[in-house]
Symmetry: C2
Subunit: 96 residues, 2 copies
DNA sequence: TTGACATATTACAATATTGTAATATAATAA
DNA sequence: TTATTATATTACAATATTGTAATATGTCAA
């Protein structure tokens, strides 16, 4: 099967979405903890509410995370297996 | 070992470098073929010489590729194991 | 030397991304 | 209802990325 130019656009978009320290941190955190609400991310990362929300929006658009509302909080989790693999491989412990 | 905010900057930079269709394509091509010179990439991707060269510069700065001059050609290859893992995991055949 | 080829760099305009501040929406409590 | 808390969206200025065109550098052959 030939890979065409367009086949690189989706994967590139995912990498681009992960390619920001705050979004990578959010994603890694969600992978470790399973799920997490927005206020927690705010405190944890010391980034403004609006900024966090906009980063989450990019992660959502790239198909990396999904949010579930519970009461007046929204819990996010990582839904992309590719993203999980990528992030895990970047932060794997170096087992000698 | 605590992971601090700064620990996300380097990995994020690598992902960002890979997060462009042309650079992802170059990187995947180099992984498949082992090595390749710039003119070949130009023809293959139908992207201008200058653009290819600037993309290669970003990949170099991110520590993803390295170039070796041979005569008047420069051959590139992927030197980052992380990048190899990431790209391979994105394009793995779905073995059912 | 000069010319041709391969690659890199620079300059710059167009576009995209980022963060902050302000505002909007949604759910709940009083 | 109104107030409060949690999250999302919008507007906008600052900055970064992109591609094209032009120029520079490096290597080889004549």
């Amino acid at each position: 099967m030939e890979i065409s130019r367009k086949d690189y656009e989706q994967p590139a978009e995912m990498l681009k979405a992960l390619g920001h320290p705050v979004r990578l941190c959010i994603t890694k955190g969600l992978i470790s903890k399973g799920r997490c609400n927005v206020s927690y991310m705010e405190e944890c990362l010391e980034v403004s509410q609006s900024a966090i929300s906009q980063h989450l929006s990019k992660l959502r658009n790239a198909g990396i995370v999904k949010g579930y509302r519970t009461g007046n909080e929204v819990y996010y989790e990582v839904i992309s297996e590719h993203a999980k693999k990528i992030v895990n491989s970047l932060f794997e412990e170096e087992t000698i």
